[in-house]
Symmetry: C2
Subunit: 125 residues, 2 copies
């Protein structure tokens, strides 16, 4: 069996993401860590945190990948919430309360969704 280990890198990265009120990109995390560990390690830690269900991944409209803490996810990711990407302050936030509704025409089996709105956030409006 595989036994996960607690390392400085993992603890610090997890703390950064979960504490933050905006989603963070790999490069933003790297900047915050200030040389605590290698770039590759950050990628691998993020991968582990995703598998654990601690964080979730957001692909922004501009293609930038960001990470945010999970709140109502226990082991299985169930993200049916919207993300908002501010074009001015560049902040990407989870709108956990906003669940979109839609109706698919034919036989589709949905297992994942990625819904990002972009524009101006309340602070920048």
């Amino acid at each position: 069996m595989k036994t996960a280990r607690n390392t400085a890198a993992k603890t610090e990265i997890q703390d950064l993401i979960v504490t933050s009120n905006v989603a963070l990109s790999h490069s933003e995390i790297q900047k915050s860590l200030d040389g605590l560990c290698d770039r590759v390690t950050i990628y691998r830690v993020l991968e582990r945190l995703l598998e654990e269900g601690t964080i979730h991944k957001i692909v922004n409209v501009d293609g930038v990948v960001k990470y945010a803490g999970c709140h109502s996810c226990s082991k299985k990711h169930s993200h049916n919430h919207i993300h908002f990407s501010c074009q001015k302050c560049k902040a990407v936030t989870c709108l956990e309360d906003v669940e979109p509704s839609y109706k698919l025409p034919k036989n589709y089996k949905v297992s994942e969704m990625n819904f990002t709105l972009s524009g101006l956030c309340p602070q920048c409006l």
Copy 2:
């Protein structure tokens, strides 16, 4: 003033995308063109087609950027439709008829949306 010109590359790329019933990525287009023009030219043609409002850009859940023809866009892109990304056949399609509804909590100004569902398409179900 700038006067657009019709070139072999542009004509071919536009035809490929508009004709296709699935969204195409840069690399898929490059493969189809089979050396007709340089990689960079493809990027620049895609940029032009986007500005012209002939095609629209889709950032998939996996981060892959795809391009599809516009149908109800006249100069201004207005894409309020959903995209579906099949995890089996990898096809990304426009579901032009499906318009999601949602209600944002605070003061947000939305100018763009990117909504992609992934799972199994009717063919793969």
